[in-house]
């Protein structure tokens, strides 16, 4: 009996000392899936806004097709833009919402006395962001096909490239926002819903960057999303995939991810210094 207990304790120690464990990442992901499953209104809420947005811009596109030469050249330009913008927003929000679940349930103190590493937690947040974004955006993308005879999937490889860049940018912003909430407490939770919209005008989602005043363009080009939306218009209007935009967006994503990770890492360290892991919550 005692030997059995000693063996089991050794196994737990080995598991806990492992610097990375997919099983711990899966445990956290499972937790967020249980939370999602526990409330169907929340799941419906994930679908609601992307679908509504897609419908509004779909009807607008149908109207403008006969009244605007710009839309007449590429019917899907507004629909693709709204779907890709929603994907960026949802990837950021998907990460931030799972993070906020921990804050609302005052659970960080329990989690971080287990062998869970902060980076394993972050990986589970990223995975959950993919799940939430897929649930939110995919139905809207599919619904556009019967409603407007427009399939965003027609972009092929370019769509995959745009999705990857926008997801990564959403994660970078999400990490920075979570860092802000860790640092400033629940008073800053509104950041999760608002920060991204400050970037919308500069991302040139619905209009080309040439509309912006000259002095503002360098700021817009500093965003990965601007490269994506310019690239999207190149695909839809000129039928070319602009590798220069894509590579620029990847480079910027790496910078954004580095900054987001640094902010989150610093905020987590600071929370340990201030004792916030034990106290933080509603």
């Amino acid at each position: 009996m005692r030997r059995g207990r000693a063996g089991s304790r050794r196994a737990l120690r080995r598991f806990g000392e492992r610097a990375f464990s997919p099983a711990r990442v899966w445990a956290m992901l499972l937790r967020y899936l249980y939370i999602l499953k526990s409330s169907w209104p929340r799941t419906v809420e994930l679908l609601y806004w992307p679908t509504l947005q897609m419908m509004i811009w779909g009807f607008m596109s149908q109207f403008l097709r006969h009244n605007s030469s710009y839309i007449a050249q590429a019917f899907g330009v507004l629909l693709a833009a709204v779907m890709l913008w929603d994907l960026l927003f949802r990837s950021q929000l998907g990460l931030s919402m799972s993070f906020l679940e921990e804050m609302w349930s005052r659970n960080l103190g329990q989690l971080f006395v287990t062998p869970l590493r902060p980076y394993e937690w972050v990986l589970s947040l990223l995975a959950m962001s993919v799940v939430r974004t897929t649930i939110g955006v995919l139905p809207a993308m599919l619904l556009a096909i019967p409603l407007y005879h427009y399939s965003i999937f027609g972009m092929g490889f370019a769509l995959i490239a745009f999705l990857a860049v926008l997801m990564a940018m959403g994660w970078a912003l999400g990490l920075a926002i979570c860092g802000g909430i860790l640092r400033h407490g629940m008073g800053a939770e509104g950041l999760a819903w608002t920060v991204i919209f400050a970037l919308a005008p500069l991302s040139c989602v619905y209009y080309p960057i040439t509309i912006l005043p000259h002095w503002l363009r360098p700021v817009a080009w500093a965003l990965p999303s601007t490269h994506v939306f310019e690239g999207m218009r190149a695909v839809l209007f000129q039928h070319v995939f602009r590798w220069d935009y894509f590579l620029g967006a990847i480079a910027l994503d790496l910078v954004f991810l580095a900054i987001g990770t640094a902010i989150f890492g610093w905020a987590f360290y600071d929370a340990r210094r201030r004792g916030a892991l034990l106290q933080m919550g509603e």
Binding site: R5, S8, R9, A11, L12, R13, F15, G16, E17, A19, S21, A23, R24, W26, A27, M28, L30, R31, Y34, I35, S38, S39, E101, S105, R106, N107, G109, Q110, L111, F112, V113, T114, P115, L116, R117, R272, R273, R274, G275, L277, L278, G281
Partner: protein, 251 residues
Amino acid sequence: MPAPVILVENLVKRYGPGPAAVDGIGFRIERGTTAALLGGNGAGKTTTLAILLGLLLPSSGRVAVFGEDIVRHRYRVLPRMNFSSPYVDLPHRLTVRQNLEIYARLYGIGRRRARIAQLAEELQIAPFLDRPAGRLSSGQKTRVALAKALLNEPELLLLDEPTASLDPDSGDWARGYLEQYRARAGATILLASHNMAEVERLCSVVMMMKAGQIVDRGSPDELIRRYGRTNLEEVFLHIVRDKHAALEPVP
């Protein structure tokens, strides 16, 4: 002489420019001991527990758990310890079973179902295993928190107010369970409590804290004799209310 399970030397924690929350304390706790940190609100008990758990970084001093520096090597010792507090929740929308399953996975426990079933029976939480944690009474929550804290059969158990919110009967039962667990698993327990009867029953070592310092320590009987009182609660009140008690910390 075997290494103590907990060794604290000159531990200081400052949150800001004001007085230190923990001000140069030191103690050691040997294997198999049940010890208590006692003190009024703001005495530094929870801060000390948080540092021992690695949740809070000390300003200075040394904290070793199982011989490992908790700041540098916390992941070597976290699998061997656990923690329960009524002030840190489990997610409300998950059922008790789901909560326990997640923590069992985080600790890498094999045969999770069997372990959860065993704890559910021992701690009498089986009837509400499939109820969301947010719909439990505070007494039920305390028992579930205890189940979570025992999932990995910890060698060191840190407990903040372990029987808070339990009625006298349940509290007495929980104390009996903790005594049995300590004896059966050879565990060491450090608890922070305001329940003096609980401390008298469970603990062989008591450290009295005030204003971030340990102002006295000993077994409950020693402290009661030293202060010429009839129980630990009177000793506690004397120390908390005595202005000079914090000025003369014991070595």
